[in-house]
Amino acid sequence: MADVLQAVSAALVETVAAAEPAVVRVDARRRLGATGIVWSSDGVIVTAAHVVERDHDITIGLAGGQTAPATLLGRDGAIDLAVLRTEARGLRAPAWAEPADLAVGGLVLALGRTSDRLLATLGIISALDEGWTTPQGGQIDHYLQTDAVMYPGFSGGPLIDAQQRVAGLNSSSLVSGLNLALPAPTVRRAVEALLSGRPVRRGYLGITAQPVPLPDVVRERLGQETGLLLTHVEPRSPAEKSRLIQGDTLVTLNGRPVRSLADLQAVLSGEQVGERVPAKVVRAGAVQDLNITIGERGQAAA
């Protein structure tokens, strides 16, 4: 009786067990523990920034019940990621799935460790889309959403796919009410930036913009349907200094098409801060070439 059903259930249990060594408890806030993922066997742990409420006296709980102290290496609140280091040895880092390996509708388990024991919920990948910007201005390479229940303390833990890889790092506070996860490229980039001691940099232009259809002539010439209409240009911003004006439609930046706000955010990912890059805008119906110096998003520029 129920051969397939039992096989599916057993495979789910096996998938949870396979991921178990990679899932740690993170004790860094007053009430409830949260979850973290072993990033590398030398003791680097990734978790959600919002569960790390203190900078000192952080403890990691490992599979098997041992605990170890950890230090905070850094955090990027804009993408809700924190990186810790523990002296614990014998950690096993899990394999990560790249966004191209994932598909909407695929089964995923969300795992958490709020006490010694591992906890699990099941769902599917609800949405997998292009890059997006968090309300705090963080850039995330792919929009990854699940319907797996985020049980209390699951933030910072892994979303595991059917191939037993980490599909993303769960955060229930990136956008309130949505179960979103950070995909591998975003976590990797942020960890590398934090480990290298460089602050996470974010490109900045100082514009408000919205996507608009391009005029037919431009569309044919560039092979691109939409661009970004600048509805506002901040005074003394990098955009204004680069001679962008309200009413321009930005169509390419640094040789890459700018069809949407997500495209723009992907180009402004940080490496170009301070660089002078080529751009094309539609102004008064004609395409013009400009050079734009990308600024850095700081406290002054929200």
Binding site: M1, V13, V149
Partner: protein, 196 residues
Amino acid sequence: MTNILQELSADMAGVVQHTRDSLVRITNGRSGAGAGTVWSSEGLIITNAHVVQRAAPTVVLPDGRALPARVLAHDPQRDLALLSVKASGLKPLALRDGQKIEPGELVFAVGHPWGVARAATSGIVIGLGADLPEAAATRREWLMVSLVLRPGNSGGPLVDTSGRLLGVNTIMTGPEVGGAVPVHVVKAFLREATLN
């Protein structure tokens, strides 16, 4: 020729059908209804203490017969009650006891959520323990499940993929998270009830 989803679906329906044979409805006069789980073929029914608000509730059996029930034991601490009806040939579920319950296991609940008779929901085991988030304050052991429970599910069975009883559905701590009293707690309750 069937594909694996069709097989899975047929298996799930089979487990639910099997479990429904052990599900009863418990009514307290005009006020709402809860669920109950057949414990013995000779008429013992297990349910939640909070489902049994009167000394003489009515139990509606799977075959539709409505019988008066006696409350043999009532434990608000464990939120369990033992009832007895004059019936025989009832179908108790096999118990899943002893074998460790693992996070990730598929599970099914049947009950009467919002009064919808004999409705089923499915989900997985989140975990088992007394120190889980949302349940620690109760200081009781819970089998937490990622599964939709609603008023009317209380007292009904939670089963595994073989249709074995894992626990008695008792609380909801969120829209998609519920808790069951594990079978070994039910057995401890029954041991005390029969000693008394």
